[in-house]
């Protein structure tokens, strides 16, 4: 199959950037989207041009590095799929594919399709943990957790931190990401001690990074490759409200 690619090229953060068209030919349907990009980059390198920069690493949908906005959708047209697990059989022969980086102010472009998502790290540094030094844990089965709670926490914890939720949101809100991180801990007994302080700290960090507010369109959930639910946002908002109205020490 043959495709025309319109790809965002931007030398560095200071450059203004623009779309550049390329053609790729004889692409097999079993080629992954990133392997198709490899084919393009091979062509560019052969011609002595700089390849398109994009983030990717594990190519099995879990590291969260890949981050392309494809035909106006984060990670492309398929549901519950990261760019690295998207296959060319889902694109019509002869079609034009538009590829952009995540677009959000707190995710500045580094180069081409690569953006800086270190804001996510900083938000997590603000409180996405249970304060627990190595060596002081009780026996694992001393903490009994219902299967339902463990499963629910796991569902939240499956977030890969790719940032598709932010890219998909018209407000560039990070609410889905932050709430998933909060929910994992809030749903487990181990997370209760610091629950409300954690919520306060992380929500404040999220705001400080310049992410927008949530206006409940659920675009984030629709585009999340891991299917993280917006119900976590409701939980975050409830916890935040409680935390701001009461002393967190009493709450815990």
């Amino acid at each position: 199959m043959n495709y025309t690619l319109k790809i965002w090229r931007q030398k560095n953060a200071a450059d203004s950037g623009s779309f550049v068209s390329y053609k790729v030919e004889n692409i097999d349907g079993e080629t992954s989207f990133l392997e198709m990009m490899d084919v393009l980059n091979q062509q560019l390198v052969t011609r002595g041009e700089e390849p398109v920069a994009y983030d990717h690493d594990c190519r099995e949908g879990v590291c969260g590095m890949c981050s392309m906005y494809i035909n106006g959708r984060a990670h492309g047209p398929n549901e519950l799929t990261t760019t690295c697990q998207l296959y060319m059989r889902h694109f019509k022969n002869g079609s034009t594919i538009i590829i952009e980086p995540w677009r959000a102010k707190p995710f500045p472009v580094i180069k081409d399709l690569m953006v800086d998502r270190s804001a996510f790290d900083r938000i997590q540094q603000a409180g996405a943990y249970i304060s627990m030094n190595a060596g002081s844990a009780p026996d694992a089965n001393n903490i009994m957790i219902s299967k339902e709670a463990a499963d629910a926490a796991f569902e939240a914890a499956e977030c890969i931190g790719c940032g598709a939720c932010v890219a998909a949101c018209k407000n560039s809100s990070a609410s889905l990401f932050v709430s998933a991180k909060l929910a994992q801990f809030a749903l487990l007994p181990q997370g209760q001690v610091e629950r409300y302080q954690r919520t306060l700290n992380m929500v404040q960090a999220m705001d400080a990074e310049g992410f927008g507010s949530c206006s409940n369109t659920s675009a984030c959930e629709a585009e999340c490759p891991k299917g993280i639910s917006v119900k976590h946002i409701a939980m975050m908002n409830r916890d935040y409200l409680k935390a701001t109205m009461c002393s967190e020490k009493v709450m815990s």
Binding site: T46, E50, C58, V62, I130, A137
Partner: protein, 639 residues
């Protein structure tokens, strides 16, 4: 050089306790004066950085990814072993130790492996307390499953995303230490050399992958937790950028490299589908708990719809050959058996290089819901990649490069042969012998990072803390930086005609065909010749567009592939030297009548630790004899 593994005195079960009771410590007030650099933020690196941060040392941690949480430990699926005996199936530290040593075909070090088993339970405690959402039974206790090479259920798991959950656990603690100021994190930074001053590791040279700037960092101790070298095969289950550069630079600065020929080919990966393939995806070994592996009995059936092939025409070859362990034989055994069937013409799928992993019986026995509960996300991943639905069509799998047991030689304290340089996790060689059992790598990484290194490094630092902060204007730093820059400029100046990927693919084909699942003297000798030719081709014909200033992805890859080329040659040399079969290292000249690996304990019961002797010089082989005082050496038998 005589290798001193520094194994503590005393009975096996007391060695670690004794060590900890008598080791030298650094007073908490003095820890603030000690700088430690950690390279890599997978399970081993992140847990070590977090724990050393907790202890109060000044830690700098570097990763080439855009966030510490992206390291490839995140992709581990199946689980983590621990000898908790929660299932009351007679598990014990000794049994976990025994299974691991046996699974490694008696080529691991007893004392290290026993310590691993002893620590395994505390790892689970630590992870649960951190909020890792392990799978649970309805009563609220932790769930377990079985893995290859064991007859007990000791594997803890979080669906098919155990590595992700454990890494996020380490990362959360790392974040807490970053917030406290105990750890400073550098992302998109790659280590390109080690600086050795007066025989001790004192610093590193780092390239900022965004700006292209080269910087110097000094410390009282350096820790490499940089993973394995599975990408020497080009196609592997490793992440695209996983590389051996840090370990290889350390080797060239004097750290011995042990057992490079022990490379694990994992039996259950999604098969190659074409030339454009960039990586292979693992399907967790846990699937072998409930899936049955088979090929058609008749060659004419290999292209048939497998669902139409009746039971009597299916060859469940693992159950046939290994009735005691069946589909749960260790990885090396399962991989060779799959290759044997495919080479004999019974392979299925478009290429003929695949076998079936079938859940039909499990779904009848347990119901689709329970299977979905156990493996749902793995099944979804398989369907996303192949377009086939494993609930009603058997998976197709084939072996692929997955893990490397070889790595930097370390002693009991995880110290390499360069004082002050430590190696953790997959980057070292110590605990898995010639074949790693499933669910043991996560255990080893976390044991090393949370518990072993924090205890052993103080023994070294108890003297080193007196040394003031190491200045970075030392001539050794000048020299190392100069070498790094010259190498980069040399690569940029080649301006040849082949991309790095093209050359890497060529290397991968050589390694797979000549140093892969099955080796012999002729193939290995040929491999050495081909690698040498390819190395020359690389250094005269690689093409790297752009400049060394700023981001240059091709340059990053070129440096890694240049090191893989050298490492591949050492792999072949090690495989040539080891004229026995053991674990994942299968020499065709050394097999039993029914095609099983045949060890030669008399001549090869040692760790082969290779010492760099200089450019274009033959590396020197140093041997660490392996003593087995607590386990009787036997022929592995899974029948």
């Amino acid at each position: 050089m005589k290798l001193d593994a520094k194994i503590p005195e005393g009975p096996l079960a007391e060695k670690w306790t004794n060590y900890r009771s008598y080791t030298h410590l650094v007073n908490p007030a003095n820890r603030r004066k000690v700088d430690i650099i950690i390279i890599g933020t997978g399970l081993a690196g992140a847990s070590a950085a977090a724990t050393l941060g907790e202890a109060g040392y000044n830690v700098k941690v570097f990763c080439f990814q855009d966030s510490p949480r992206r390291a490839h430990s995140i992709a581990a699926q199946g689980g983590i072993n621990a000898s908790k005996n929660y299932q009351n199936d007679s598990d014990s530290n000794y049994r976990l130790f025994y299974d691991t040593v046996k699974g490694g075909d008696y080529r691991g070090r007893e004392a290290n492996t026993y310590r691993l088993a002893q620590i395994s339970g505390a790892i689970i405690d630590q992870c649960v307390a951190q909020g890792v959402p392990f799978a649970r039974e309805y009563g609220g206790t932790l769930a377990n499953r079985s893995f290859g090479g064991a007859q007990v259920s000791r594997t803890f798991y979080a669906s098919g995303a155990t590595g992700q959950q454990l890494l996020l656990g380490c990362y959360s603690e790392l974040n807490r230490q970053i917030r406290k100021g105990n750890v400073k994190s550098y992302t998109r930074h790659e280590m390109l050399d080690i600086v050795v001053i007066d025989g001790k590791a004192r610093g590193v040279i780092i390239r900022d992958l965004v700006s292209g700037e080269i910087s110097r960092h000094s410390a009282h101790a350096i820790v490499l937790a940089t993973g394995g070298y599975g990408n020497v095969f080009y196609l592997s289950t490793n992440a695209m950028a996983s590389n051996a550069t840090a370990a290889w630079r350390a080797y060239k600065k004097g750290a011995f490299f042990a057992n490079p020929c022990y490379t694990q080919i994992h039996p259950t990966c999604i098969p190659v589908s074409g030339e454009y393939q960039s990586k292979l995806t693992l399907m967790s070994e846990s699937l072998r708990n409930d899936g049955r592996i088979w090929v058609p009995k008749n060659k004419e059936d290999v292209k048939k719809d497998p669902r139409q092939i009746p039971e009597e025409d299916r060859d469940y070859y693992l159950e046939r050959r290994y009735p005691a362990f069946g589909n749960l034989v260790p990885r090396d055994v399962a991989s060779r058996a799959a290759k044997e069937r495919c080479d004999a013409g019974y392979g299925v799928g478009p290429t003929g290089f695949a076998v079936y992993l079938d859940f039909k019986d499990a779904i009848i026995r347990l119901g689709e819901d329970l299977i979905r509960d156990r493996y749902g996300n793995l099944f979804e991943m398989y369907e996303r990649i192949t377009g086939d639905n494993p609930y009603n069509y058997p998976m197709r799998i084939y072996p692929a490069s997955h893990y490397t047991m070889g790595g930097l030689w370390v002693d009991y304290e995880l110290g390499t042969t360069i004082p002050g340089l430590y190696a953790l996790g997959e980057a070292n060689f110590s605990d898995h012998g010639a074949n790693r059992l499933g669910a043991s790598s996560l255990m080893q990484c976390l044991a090393d990072g949370y518990f072993v290194l924090p205890a052993t490094i103080s023994n070294y630092l108890s003297e080193e803390f007196r040394h003031p902060a190491i200045p970075i204007d030392n001539p050794a730093f000048d020299q190392a930086e100069k070498e790094v820059k010259e190498r980069i400029e040399k690569l940029m100046a080649i301006k040849g005609s082949q991309s790095v990927d093209e050359l890497h693919k060529k290397l991968g084909r050589i390694v797979w065909n000549y140093i892969g699942l099955s080796r012999n003297e002729e193939k290995l000798t040929k491999a050495l010749q081909l690698i040498d030719e390819l190395k020359k081709e690389f250094w005269t014909d690689v093409k790297i567009p752009g400049s060394s200033k700023g981001m240059n992805i091709e340059l990053e890859k070129a440096q890694r592939v240049a090191d893989f080329l050298e490492l591949a040659a050492l792999m072949a040399k090690d495989a040539l030297n080891r004229k026995e079969s053991c674990g994942a290292h299968f020499r065709e000249e050394s097999q039993t009548e029914d095609g099983e690996a045949k060890r030669d304990d008399e001549h090869f019961r040692y760790v082969a630790a290779w010492e760099y002797a200089g450019e274009d010089k033959e590396p020197i082989l140093n041997k660490e004899p392996l003593e087995f005082e607590n386990i009787e050496l036997k022929t592995r038998n899974y029948k």
